[in-house]
Amino acid sequence: MSTDLPPGIQRRRFDGRERLATRGEPVYGEPQDEEGWRAWDAGRSKLGAMLELELNLGFAGDDGVLYLGAASGTTVSHVADFAGPTYAVEFAPRPTRDLLAVADARPNLFPLLKDARAPETYAHVVEAGLEYVVQDVATRGQATVALRNRRFLAPDGRLVAAIKARSEDVLEDPDDVFSDVLDDLREGYAITDTRRLDRFHDDHLAVVAEPRADDGRS
């Protein structure tokens, strides 16, 4: 049998295949069974891939989550299904239109058209002491984004980040890029786990980290 999945996430059968699933309004035409569970496509979702690869993320079921890089809301729709208050930050207006449709049907999903590199533009909205910062931003300076958003995490909270090598540097070897990013992250985080997601997403690295206790400011 597989590792225990967090509350709110199950393996269900869709068209003869067993897939991750959460329960909530369908968003992107994904299959949904009679009990309202909708398939979570690990090929479209970094977080879904992490769960398929059995990373131990520790979701409890009513966690407060800050999701950076929400895009059209594909992944964050599943997060809102199983988590507690979910703050979704996206920079580009076009995908945010879709994110708004996702948020309409989810009272615990709070969409924000903001720049994840400038947390002061939403620290008056997003509450402190969150259990998770989930990050999937295809921009340069992914470590900087994570460090600047550390301020929202509870001391025992976690960073769950999907790092994209090509966003940092299109030409460098991904291993070198990941190594640099991890070094930068260590300025404010203690890395607890890393895993290549290449089975689902080329040149991506999943990183799980905890905020460092020293120097409370991010």
Binding site: P85, P93, R94, T96, R97, L99, L100, A103, D104, P107, N108, L109, F110, P111, L112, L113, E120, T121, A123, H124, V125, V126, E127, A128, G129, R150, R151, F152, L153, P155, P211, G216, R217, S218
Partner: protein, 293 residues
């Protein structure tokens, strides 16, 4: 770790959580360095009765604020594209006007210039002529002035090129399907002529076909551009590159798909390969008619 920053206030302190408009404004415009336990504080300060009420208010406020912010960003981006293409046309027009004056003036000076053994070659027209004159080493005060003026024309033409590149980079963000189908510059012109993406999306194909017909008419009369019957879309390769007998059909087909592309861009905002494939099929049919004839 959330530190204590006495200056930071939660969004609800700036806007009445029950007044959707001021709540949305607070979400969009205010800032804070450090987050706090906003739900608890909002209850404690009496803005809401309990945390459930807080999250309901937060949901309403963030959805509204984000919806307005999306519209404003998209309108601003569209508006920037219109400014850019208008500026590009200004730069092109002024570059040509100044170049025309340069070529005429320099022509009167060219004969007196010492060109070594040979006669000075003729100065080409337009910006190319200005480029040639700008390369002169001036020998008289009049030549200094005409060379300097020539440099102004060359600079304006360079600006035109930069602005064109900027249009090419911006148009897909505003209207991805339109930009792909018409090309970014023609897409930006159609948007300008229609007065925006929403307005363009609401026009029937027949109107899209003749957008810019007056401009095209004037350009045609000045010797640039083709017959004005079909508006600016006539400059598209699908029309220009078609046998004159079939240009009407080609223009109608293109206008029809452009109208659909604009609607997809306005209502869905995403790239859809199908409409481009459809257009390719229609054009292939029209082209086949030419081969058979």
């Amino acid at each position: 770790m959330s530190g204590q920053n006495p200056g930071d206030s939660g969004w609800f302190r700036y806007g009445d959580p029950n007044d959707a408009e001021s709540a949305a404004t607070a979400i969009t415009e205010r800032t804070a360095e450090q987050p706090q336990n906003w739900p608890a504080e909002a209850v404690r300060a009496g803005f809401v009765e309990d945390e459930d009420e807080y999250y309901d208010a937060l949901h309403d406020a963030t959805v509204r604020a984000t919806r307005e912010a999306v519209q404003e960003r998209e309108t601003a981006t569209e508006q920037q594209l219109q400014y850019t293409i208008a500026a590009m046309d200004d730069a092109e027009r002024t570059a040509n006007e100044i170049a025309e004056r340069v070529v005429e003036w320099a022509g009167s000076l060219a004969d007196s210039r010492s060109e070594g053994e040979g006669r000075a070659p003729d100065i080409p027209g337009g910006v190319d002529g200005a480029r040639a004159v700008a390369a002169w080493t001036p020998e008289t005060p009049a030549e200094e002035r005409v060379v300097s003026l020539a440099e102004r024309a060359v600079d304006l033409d360079a600006e035109r090129a930069e602005l064109r590149s900027f249009v090419e980079s911006q148009a897909p963000a505003v209207a991805p399907n339109l930009a792909e189908m018409a090309g970014p510059v023609l897409a930006a012109r159609l948007l300008s002529l229609a007065g925006g993406l929403e307005s363009l999306a609401k026009k029937p194909a027949g109107t899209v076909q003749v957008l810019g017909a007056e401009d095209a008419l004037f350009a045609h009369l000045r010797g640039r551009g083709s017959s004005p019957k079909h508006g600016v879309i006539f400059t598209h390769e699908h029309v220009r590159g078609t046998h004159p007998d079939n240009r009407g059909s080609a223009a109608r087909a293109l206008a029809g798909k452009l109208a659909i592309a604009a609607r997809i861009d306005h209502y869905a905002g995403e790239f859809r390969q199908s409409v481009h494939d459809d257009l390719a099929d229609r054009m292939a049919t029209i082209r086949d008619r030419e081969v058979g004839e």
